[in-house]
Symmetry: C2
Subunit: 351 residues, 2 copies
DNA sequence: ATCACCGGTGGGAGCGCTCCCACGGTACCT
DNA sequence: AGGTACCGTGGGAGCGCTCCCACCGGTGAT
């Protein structure tokens, strides 16, 4: 059983060649079986599979990567410090969807943080070495150079949340416009007359879209727009507090607030409480994200839920397509691939 | 500049050979420069570095991995579902330490979850393919087959928290014994007479050590041990509640509780509150972990802090040593490498 | 002058795989 | 009968790197 070749490699892992010898076939045939090619007879396939099992053969990924020029790995790149990543349930949910969609694939998922300059430099190096077949980009700011770097390196990438209406990368997003609109329509349906909006950071495209949705709901219901009712926030609790204070000073008659995130809604709630406004009797409050905060707030917060796990799944879909399309080369269509998923308003006692 | 070979590879990434041609040296020399070998003259080194810069050369990792039989990547394996990973600040801190220690290395860190059977199977496959040079194992239960798999595959690994006193893998742990002991000594110093202990899951070695520390503190102070004062928990809040209820029924006279984790302490606190016992006046309470919960509890919880970030750093140290030792082969010493780091008692108002 | 030695260097021989071309055989057409 | 098509198959030629041996010239010892 040994010495069918020059060097007897007793200790090492079995190679394709050894499997081939064992199964009494050629190297090419084993490769075909391993890679699930249909152009193999059933008998041969069975023989090879037996040999693989007996020898405990596992393909050498490095050799495969070198020969085939692919790595069978994709990276989820988080351009944030670890702490923020852990703080927000958003990532956890997304990761769940991504993992699920990937689980019947050969692809391995790598999680890479790039929170500071040093980490970013390492990431650039990593990407330049083409150590992944594709990249999932989450929570990217408008001026981030990462997307351009990826295009330049010709690495397939999918972005969660387009950077603008003219996003060139494939993207998956929830319907920020529709979500905001439904939130405001809900408030109007409850009889609110003066609905304020605390926006997110306006350099985040999704935040802009929520403002658009807010405006559309108001106009659609025949209200006139009052820019005094729109106050920019920054997605933080403190930002929510400041915005609420400002709004209250400007328009003490407001009877509803649509906050661009649950965290900001929490800040707003504090101020309303301090000012003696009852929720929802005096002022109705609606948030965005339907995070754990929303459920635990007092009173529980009405919020717009995004299907984050589903978004993770769809991002993988897009990315895998993108990777597959690129493989045989030049033919790939340039049609933009942008997915938008519906949101859902979760009504609770705050409205 | 082109056509110095048969095929002009205009589009592709530059190779070692091309850098060599550009610098007017041989392939081997460029390799030496890239890998920081000292056996290169300064002049040659400079020439090669210039060529590398001009061509934007980045080594092909796959080729290197194939030729050198290493991957320059290590995995942090979490045998838990993602959700738990995100829920506990433990992992976040550990990751921070690991990332920091790795940042001046070529090593890439991969985060791999293995929460269910399917993921575990994929992981086994991944490890069998030797796609990483080493593995960091966190939060492993006593009966987990993963450590054995790793030994069998001869993959260097470091475990956080030994599985038993006879742990064979290198490990990094905090001083559970000493931490528990200091917590109980603190309670005794405050004049407590009947100190109860809610343990963690006793199939976790660290939890056993905490029990040992609890006993030692009592004996050291001349107290006699009362097994009635020891009640097993399971690290959950609900487990803490149950244990506290049980303890109160058995020993209504107890005046202090040392819980094996902050989360269990939180459960215990609820029961104590419901039973009308004031903290710390009637019953003093001490937790373990010094997590965010401890700081936010009412009253703030005295707790034992583990240097988790430091543990992450030390795990990387050990692992890199382990990997380096294994490289030239057979010579590596079998001395056990077990690191134990000191804990610190953080006194707050609950005691 | 001769030799051993060593720092610095070039390049052959792989690492284990995929890709692809070539080959023999069978089935179906003319 | 010969021709054509394809299927299943074997194996050569790389992929880009590291490892290692051989080589060159300069140095110091003999």
């Amino acid at each position: 059983m040994a010495s069918h070749g020059a060097r007897s490699r007793s200790g090492g892992r079995p190679t394709l060649e050894e499997v081939a010898a064992r199964a009494g076939v050629g190297r090419g045939t084993v490769s075909r079986v391993i890679n699930g090619s249909p152009r193999v007879s059933d008998a041969t396939r069975a023989a090879v599979e037996a040999a693989v099992a007996e020898l405990g053969y596992v393909p050498n990924t490095a050799a495969r990567a070198l020969a085939a020029n692919r790595t069978d790995a994709i990276a989820l790149v988080v351009p944030e410090p670890e702490t923020r990543f852990f703080a927000e349930p958003y990532f956890s949910d997304m990761l769940k969807g991504v993992g699920a969609e990937l689980s019947d694939t050969q692809m391995q998922l790598l999680l890479i943080f790039a929170g500071n300059d040093r980490e970013r430099a390492r990431l650039a190096q990593y990407l330049a070495a083409h150590r992944v077949d594709g990249v999932l980009l989450v929570s990217v700011h408008a001026d981030d150079p990462l997307p351009d770097l990826l295009s330049q390196l010709e690495i397939p990438a999918v972005i969660s949340g387009p950077r603008s209406a003219a996003e060139t990368l494939p993207s998956v997003d929830s319907d920020n416009y529709g979500g905001a609109r439904s939130a405001v329509e809900h408030l109007l349906a409850r009889g609110c007359r003066a609905v304020a909006h605390i926006t997110g950071r306006l350099d985040v495209y999704g935040a802009q879209r929520r403002v658009d949705g807010y405006r559309a709901a108001l106009l659609g219901a025949g209200h006139e727009l009052d820019e005094q009712l729109i106050q920019p926030g920054d997605f933080t609790e403190e930002g929510g507090r400041r915005a609420m204070t400002e709004l209250l000073a400007r328009r003490p008659d407001l009877d509803a607030v649509f906050a661009g995130s649950d965290v900001m809604a929490a800040g707003a709630r504090q101020v309303l409480r301090e000012e003696g406004r009852r929720i929802p009797d005096d002022v109705a409050l609606v948030g965005y994200d339907d995070s754990a905060i929303a459920r635990h707030m007092d009173p529980p917060l009405t919020s717009v839920r995004q299907p984050i796990e589903e978004m993770g799944r769809r991002m993988i879909d897009l990315l895998l397509t993108e990777i597959a399309d690129r493989r045989p080369a030049v033919t790939r269509e340039l049609e933009r691939r942008q997915v938008v998923l519906a949101t859902e308003l979760v009504a609770r006692r705050s409205s």
